[in-house]
């Protein structure tokens, strides 16, 4: 059923994650502002169901906000990385992309609607069994995310959705690839103090933030009272679960897979590296071409190893001398015989 404020039928042409072109014709819902420089609206099918969500950078007199544009790109990049890593087994808990167009008048992405609701409204309300399910789903999502070599860098209760069974992570505008520098302002009460713009993106920063989200949901305490895990009751099950999560040095924090094991979930191993056999073949071809240009390898060291006994390819100097004497002797004998 159409709602007030709908923007009429829209036709959008976009790039798909597979590199092809796609088109959608749908009825546009009302725009909302999820953040500075950004706008978002649902796109409805003719039967009134929500097909997908369009998130766009708003253009002000043709000019767009550079930060909002980068954040949109970060969201696209994160979803594409997840898609490349997990392929047909794309996990529902991680962002999925329908398409994007960065060259449109208002650059945008299209994604499926997110099920569930932000856990910001569930703090202190989950039952014991629900807590365990939520914690397991959250850290499993982080394991899957780190397998795609993506750091969310903005986890907080508003971007973690929960439908009673599944977690869905959203809000990837500040995300970065593992090992590169954070390009956005990632500092927040939910992130480790050392995680700031230009710091190296580390999946263990997400573990810290997820630890705070879990503590917030379980205890109902505001983040200000949970800083560095301070508000987590000592010797509680929560304290055991989050042991080491708030260490200053990210290398000393447990990984998401380790937290999962503490929850009794062995389903995911530690993150595996992304690989691409065709790219590896290209890199090997580069190495071969480079070696060819560098010329032949350096000559072997001057000192020769001793000949192996019975080596037919090598004759010792003593043997050569003996052979020489025999040869001269035979020559002299022959000269006497035939001379």
């Amino acid at each position: 059923m159409p709602e007030p404020g709908r923007t009429g039928v829209v036709r959008l042409e976009f790039h798909t994650p597979q590199g092809t072109s796609g088109t959608v014709i749908a009825e546009g819902g009302p725009w909302t502002a999820p953040g500075p420089g950004l706008a978002e609206r649902p796109l409805y099918a003719s039967d009134g169901s929500t097909l997908m969500v369009q998130r766009a950078v708003t253009a002000d007199g043709g000019r767009i906000d550079g930060t909002a544009h980068r954040m949109l790109q970060n969201e696209i990049r994160a979803a594409l990385r997840v898609g490349r890593r997990h392929g047909a087994a794309h996990p529902d808990c991680l962002p999925r992309l329908v398409g994007y167009d960065l060259d449109a008048e208002s650059p945008y992405l299209l994604c499926p609607p997110v099920a569930g609701r932000p856990v910001a409204g569930l703090a202190g309300q989950l039952l014991l069994g629900q807590r365990h399910g939520f914690q397991t789903a959250l850290f499993r999502a982080l394991v899957l995310l780190s397998e795609a070599e993506v750091v969310h860098a903005g986890l907080r209760p508003e971007v973690v959705h929960w439908d009673g069974r599944q977690v869905r992570l959203t809000g990837f505008g500040r995300s970065a690839a593992v090992g590169e520098s954070y390009r956005e302002d990632v500092a927040s009460l939910w992130m480790p103090p050392a995680a700031v713009r230009d710091a190296v993106a580390d999946p263990h920063d997400d573990v810290w933030a997820a630890g705070l989200v879990v503590a917030h949901v379980v205890t109902g305490l505001p983040v200000e009272q949970l800083a560095g895990g301070a508000g987590v009751p000592a010797e509680s099950a929560l304290a055991s679960l989050l042991d080491g999560v708030f260490r200053a040095d990210p290398r000393r924090r447990p990984g998401a897979a380790q937290i999962l094991r503490r929850l009794g979930d062995q389903s995911r191993a530690e993150a595996a590296a992304l690989d691409d056999a065709a790219l590896d073949a290209g890199r090997a071809a580069f190495d071969a071409e480079r070696a060819k240009k560098a010329g032949p390898p350096a000559p072997a060291p001057a000192a020769e190893p001793p000949s192996a006994p019975g080596d037919p390819g090598r004759l010792s100097p003593a043997l050569l001398l003996a052979l020489g004497v025999v040869l001269i002797g035979l020559t002299l004998i022959g000269w006497r015989v035939f001379g």
Binding site: A59, L80, R81, L102, A278, L279, R283, F286, D287, K293
Partner: protein
């Protein structure tokens, strides 16, 4: 600034336009001043001019190439071109629409914003009038007004712009030749400058790579074949720039490079790693013909870059222009040319 002849002792200059070598008289005679209104007019420096006034006049002066072989129309060189070390002459090579002019314009814009300072390099205009003209015609319309530039004008035989680049080890005149793709692929007469280039920048249009497989660029074969027809390797530093990389910014391994903040120092290891990834990307796409520069040039680097950061619509970049990694290829060429010292010249591109 005291302007003295190249290699001061000899006063011998090789003109980058006609390639003739001539001896230059360092006296004040035979100099020209240039203005956009009057063109080149003889420069008279009064005999009683103060040393400061003389130096100022010579800083902007030109000399007329005598073109001893008499095979080119009259042409002039900035006096500063002759005043330092042997110049670095960079030829941009690539098909029409590969984005050579956009790349050069974006590069000049980044240099104007002092982005070479991160590499401890300083850049000044070699010929201020010519530099102003280039900025007015190309860089400002692109970067400030978001306008798509017209293709390179065919038939031009002069360098597009030139800089004086200084490092801790010295100062080098650096001239950029941007010649039309058709001229290059047919090796027309105005490509004679290629015989005098000391560095090559091959520009690949990312949009053509992987579009139908077997991407190629006829200018590469023509230029490499002319400069080095036999076997062995060409001893001219080369950089291959996979331009318009914004169009493939989310593809691996492009996404690992193009989103990086600009480099803040020269790091031979990083240059090698990026070269390896660009090579692998082109190799995977079956664009082996575009890898010719790496195969045939002894020292060669490969780079992901985008002059504009976006695709033009109706001749404009409506969201503005955001150059991505456009200085890295130039810095690599400068390193291979010795601007960062002998050690860096050995390490980069080898």
């Amino acid at each position: 600034m005291n302007v003295t002849p190249a290699g001061a002792a000899t006063g011998v200059v090789r003109c980058p336009i006609c390639l003739d070598v001539f001896r230059w008289d360092p006296a004040d005679d035979g100099l020209f001043a240039f203005s956009e209104e009057a063109g080149y007019v003889p420069l008279r420096i009064p005999a009683d001019a103060s040393p400061e006034k003389r130096a100022g006049a010579r800083r902007l002066a030109h000399l007329r190439c005598p073109n001893p072989s008499g095979d080119r129309p009259a042409h002039f060189l900035p006096l500063l071109y002759t005043a330092y070390r042997p110049p670095i002459v960079i030829g941009l090579v690539g098909a029409s629409l590969s984005g050579k002019t956009h790349l050069l314009a974006a590069m000049m814009g980044e240099i104007e914003n002092d982005r070479l300072a991160a590499f401890d390099l300083k850049a000044d205009a070699l010929d201020p009038v010519r530099h102003r003209t280039f900025m007015r015609q190309y860089t400002r319309p692109l970067l400030e007004k978001g306008r798509r530039l017209p293709g390179t004008v065919e038939g031009v035989a002069d360098f597009a712009d030139a800089l004086l680049i200084s490092s801790a080890t010295g100062t080098w005149p650096v001239a950029f030749f941007d010649i039309g793709g058709e001229d290059l692929s047919r090796l027309r007469d105005n490509t004679r400058f290629l015989n005098g280039v000391t560095a090559l920048m091959f520009v690949v249009d990312a949009e053509t790579v992987g579009a139908g497989g077997n991407a190629r660029d006829d200018t590469y074969r023509a230029v490499l074949g002319m400069l080095h027809p036999g076997s062995g390797h060409l001893d001219v530093p080369a950089a291959v720039v996979l331009n318009k990389a914004d169009l493939i910014r989310f593809e691996p391994p492009v996404d690992a490079w193009i989103h990086r903040p600009p480099a803040d120092r020269l790091d031979a290891g990083t240059v090698l790693a990026e070269s390896r990834d660009v090579y692998a990307y082109l190799h995977r796409a079956g664009a082996t013909a575009l890898l010719q520069p790496y195969r045939y040039c002894r020292r060669c680097t490969l780079h992901f870059a985008s002059a504009t950061g976006a695709r033009a619509r109706d001749g404009e970049f409506p969201h503005g222009v955001r150059p991505m990694r456009v200085l890295e290829p130039l810095v690599a060429l400068l390193a291979m040319s010795g601007v960062f010292g002998a050690a860096a010249a050995r390490q980069v591109g080898s």
